[in-house]
Symmetry: C2
């Protein structure tokens, strides 16, 4: 009986929580829709109108516009990470990197404003809370796993070592990915991830306008360069 009471009160409590969570999800969905239409300057009143409620009611769920944006950012990180993790394991390490990169690019093309929210210029007053870093690293680890596995199976050539503070930071990075991994390889992987990021952002933010129309081929071209430089070998 006591356990029943307990579960009852739990289910009642979780019911409230569930409704609240559903409402939060609806708000986030509406906000995402508005985000897709008019970009980062999201209007709380507009999403409230969409949901048929007063703007002030929205503050019951998100304390501020920044908090809503933070929730959207975390969701975006997670969605991107999931897209990267869903890529099937291709036979060779270079292929794996390139395919994950394509998955990242495809996600960004499908959700350009969310990509901008996450990897674009930071909102002035906004400071990303530490809640985001967990989700933010998912996609990076998807790439790191490729390099780490290549390192263990001898499919990654390590370049010349790096010393100084940068070498130590590369070492710390390597220990995170795979204990014993060559620090300079971890450094190149990190730089490679930034190249992925830069290539996608360049395309999305209009740097290729009037210059390159074969976007996918150019991205492939860049990524092949990236895996070459990192040292991944078939």
């Amino acid at each position: 009986m006591l356990s029943v009471w307990h579960t009852d009160s739990m289910s009642a409590a979780s019911l409230r929580a569930r409704i609240r969570a559903e409402m939060s999800d609806e708000i986030k969905a509406a906000a995402r829709k508005h985000l897709a239409i008019e970009g980062a300057n999201l209007s709380l009143r507009a999403v409230a109108r969409d949901l048929g409620m007063a703007s002030s009611a929205l503050y019951r769920y998100f304390a501020s516009r920044d908090e809503l944006l933070t929730a959207l950012i975390i969701d975006a990180y997670d969605a991107l990470g999931a897209a990267a993790e869903a890529v099937p394991v291709f036979p060779t390490a270079p292929q794996r990197w390139v395919e994950i990169a394509h998955a990242v690019r495809n996600w960004a093309l499908a959700n350009p404003h969310e990509w901008a929210l996450v990897y674009g210029s930071p909102v002035p007053g906004y400071q990303a809370p530490s809640d985001t870093i967990g989700s933010a690293t998912r996609v990076i680890f998807a790439f790191a796993r490729v390099v780490a596995e290549a390192a263990t199976t001898g499919h990654a050539v390590a370049g010349s070592p790096v010393d100084g503070q940068l070498g130590e930071e590369f070492h710390a990075l390597a220990e995170l990915a795979l204990p014993g991994m060559a620090p300079q390889l971890a450094g190149r992987a990190m730089a490679g991830w930034i190249q992925v990021c830069g290539a996608v952002s360049a395309e999305l933010f209009g740097q290729l306008a009037n210059t390159i129309d074969a976007r996918r081929e150019f991205f492939e071209f860049q990524m092949r360069g990236t895996v070459d430089w990192i040292g991944l070998r078939a």
Copy 2:
């Protein structure tokens, strides 16, 4: 006498124009100051307050907030281009590329919000007018010149050719930089510029937070990789 009259009327005309230009410059300067403080969401009323005038008076000089932003963007492109062009000519092509890249990075670190304005996520409703492309290409040409000169002096190894539409676009790019230049080299130069852009943006937009503190060394590390991959040789 007639010429004197002519110069008089000219100077009178240019006097009005000069006052107008000075006022425009003052507005832009104040706008830049506000931009540095609170980022891209620039308040016209705030800059008007700074200048001690009504916000409506500002519209005599810039038809809209977007037009002011456009003026700032053009100035930023020009300032960045000038910074890149001011780099002394170093003995070897790899050095030249890396030094220009450092100049770009230094300018971006000194003017982070203007960098974000130009290379960050585009403002939603805003569409960059064609006035900007002239200034936008200055910095790119600074890099292109390095590669083009290296190609003529045999200090650039051309990778494997690229065919298809991308190959044609690389060809068009090569013709712009140096007639007869290997298309794939132009393609790599373009990709290299995007890597510069991506590396600077990653640092500025907080992608390296809690990961890499030796920023300058890491940037140098990345740029050495870039010149290696492009095929620049000493």
